[in-house]
Amino acid sequence: MASFTSKPPKIEIKYTQIFINNDWHKATNGKTFPVINPSTGEEICQVEEGTKNDIDKAVEAARKAFHINSPWRTLEPSARGKIMRKFADLLRRDIEYLAQLETLNNGKPVTNSKMDIMGAAACIDYYAGWADKFTGETLPTTSDMFLYTRHEPIGICGQIIPWNYPILMLATKLGPALACGNVVILKPSEETPLTALYCAALIKEAGFPPGVVNIVPGDGPNCGNAIVLHEHINKISFTGSVEVGKKVQEGAAKSNLKRVTLELGGKSPLIICEDADVNFAVYVAHEAIFHNAAQNCIAASRTFVHSKIYDEFIAKSVALAKKRIVGDPFDPATQQGPQINKSQFKRILNYIESGKKAGAKLECGGEKANDKGYFIKPTVFSNVKDDMEIAREEIFGPVMSVFKFDSYDEVIERANATNFGLVAGVLTKDLTRALKFVQELQAGSVWVNTYAAMKAQAPFGGFKQSGQGREFGKYGLEPYYEVKTVAIKLLSKM
């Protein structure tokens, strides 16, 4: 049984300023903002508040770092990779401290923070290996021409990351951008800037030249927006909600047509077929929704269960949900920490009410788990109908919604009946059926007999309004380079 300790462990906060040009700066507007511990609702510290002027400073620094003949532009590709791997090594070196800091700020259990950091380091390692391996092409053409493509870095990349996986998101963004030789201005979420600022110190220690990576904490409207609208930022990569994603794309086009990649929300289906092992299915479905307090773009928030195994599935899922240990994320027994903040907390509880009102059956949970902090009990709704709010909208909280189905064609149609299209999961032993699902589900990732198969090598991104572009894998490089085609006409007669 985990506790809800009111006093967090003493963790030294080393970096609270804005990181530009490998240096620490105070906010140009002289302001700071509070960073909250979601386990207690109390302030951890104050962090410098970046706004437009700070973004302008960062752009200046990035521009210099990207100038032709700069140290970064002339660095051998393999040397870029080496510096990146050094950063990955430093993440692993400081994993104990970083995990504590991540848990303090985000509320995820410490073991999860450690997993995230190992994943972040693996992602950086993966992309470090690409630095000297992605190639342009020479092209066959008429004999009077030498025709080839260069893959050039785009330039200044603005990257805006969310609060649900602070360190992992930072690595996911930096990896491909740096592998391709770009320079970066990264804005961590105003909820969770602390580990990003510590990573900034590691970036300097790893040996990146000044101005290559700049980290500016701040909010969306004053800081993020400045990035989106900046005339001299060449590309933006945003991970967050669909609502804000649309604004980002709009702003990018309105300003200077900067290239855009978006990783947005989801309402992802997990489809459990009649031949799935029920105990296995219950376990997979449980983790697929509740991991990270369900604060996942990939959360399996629509669980479709074949009518033949539906009752057994519900009973076992409810039993498992009731056993899930919610509490102090520093307690090693804890499986689920708090939600990130009061606003999310309220929003989730509202959705739960709407589910009850709409007539879904509340099987367990459905309320807060503690008076202090933002803890919510693992909640299971059965008999959910496709048109309910809880069936259509992204809750981003620990609410499992279970739907019954009979035919496979029917469930595929229902699974696809959404504007989202991030991921989908299928549990079945049948080869042909699995491949049918794979083909017909409209999702950027389809997982068979597993869930959350996130790998550094596997491209990840959304169909439809779940986003555009891909992260991870070789495909993850594509948004970060410009193709320049060179044609040299040969004047001699040979």
């Binding site: 051998e76 040397a79 290996g129 000297d132 391996k133 491949l435 040969l490 040979m494």
Partner: protein
Amino acid sequence: MLSKLVSKQIINHGLRLTTRAASASAQPKLVIDRKPPVKFQKLFINNEFVDASSGSTFEVINPATGDVITEVADASEKDVDRAVKAAKDAFRLGSEWRRMDPAARGQLLYKLADLMERDRAYLAALETLNNGKPFKDSYNVDIPHCISVLRYYAGWPDKMNGKVLPVAGDFFSYTRREPVGVVGQIIPWNFPMILLCWKIGPSVATGCTTVIKLDEHTPLTGLYTAKLIEEAGFPPGVVNIISGDGPHCGASLVKHPDVHKISFTGSTQVGKLIGIEAAKLVKRTTLELGGKSPNIVFADCDLDTAVEMSHFALFFNQGQCCCAGSRTYVEEKIYDEFVQRSIERTKRRKVGDPFDESTEQGPQISHEQMDKIIDLIESGKKNGAKLLVGGKREGDKGFFVQPTLFADVEDDHRIAREEIFGPVMQILKFKTVEEVIERANDSDYGLAASVFSKDLDKSIVVSNGLRAGSVWVNTYDNFDPVAPFGGFKQSGLGREKSEYSLDSYSETKCVTIKISQRNS
């Protein structure tokens, strides 16, 4: 001082083998051990050092003195069997190696590179002791290049993607790139450490297991590297390293039915024998053989650079490079000036103790090689080429040959057609672009070539016309791990380094699954 200039030229120009940062740190307060202790003399099989089953050994000579350094185990057919069996076991389905996360394979290569970096000074000294190349080359060029090659390959294992194919009919069809299996790799004596890493890299990256036969002249650094392989944490049997001769040990590896692929670097003559044997078992074969590479200097070149790089192109590594620029074609207009400057440069080339900081040229590898070189020099004189510098053995201890220069060489002279593999430069005159391309291509070899010219058009057109696997423009011996290297024609089959090298260590499997209905 001059050697530092050449060294800098090598690093910044021709060989581009180290990063700027590394080359800056290449001259710290280095204590050179002129008598590095030999630590490993046995066969490395299954992560263990074992005597040859017959107990026999052979002598390893220091070519700078002709003296015996030590003895190492002499692998026979029986030992090849043992090594291949170890590699086969390590490759069986379900083994640790077959099940290993590809990224983890890469981490092992990074670790090996780190260990090599740790032991850089020792390895460089041992390489110089055994091979005779100047220590400053071993230290600043060979070992750093090895490290960069391993680090390059380390990034590949989780990036060798197959394809999902747009087939017709109700099928799901995709390719897997699988390791070819147990590979046999035979390396020569001229760049022992470098070739070892060119072989280990792709074998490990693709998930193969290997038996590497070191050249009998130069086994010492390879056997030390074996220890580093064990220290890095490679599972037993993944990399096996043995010392032995060609006719028994090498041949047995080539003929072995459990070896699925052979990679050989050495002479064209032996390469052909290997090709013939391998064909009997349809064994996949890659060969890196000899060359007689043309270096073409146009009148519109930067003459200073051209003279220095042409000198380097031939004389580097005592002339013992498969890709040595051994036919220097100089345009008529600048011919006399070029020859004059080359004479001066060649006369200045410092021959001596490879451990001396000022030495540019060490000994040839063996008495046999030395004799062969002198014989070819004599043929040059007989054929009527003008001997302008050197031409004789240097001293009477060790296998040193004077830096030698011939001008007015004709295409049909033996020294213009046969690979000398020694410090003997041939300068030939040409008039027109068309003529020189034809003469440059008139060879059964096709390993490398170079062009010195400031003209954009000419550089591209001539590069396009030369039948050679590597064409260097206004530079020479650029061996970036990213760039493929290999021969046209009888200079070899296949490419080493770069992404291109991975194919020869992979087998493509196409899997086709019937599905109920295919949609695009």
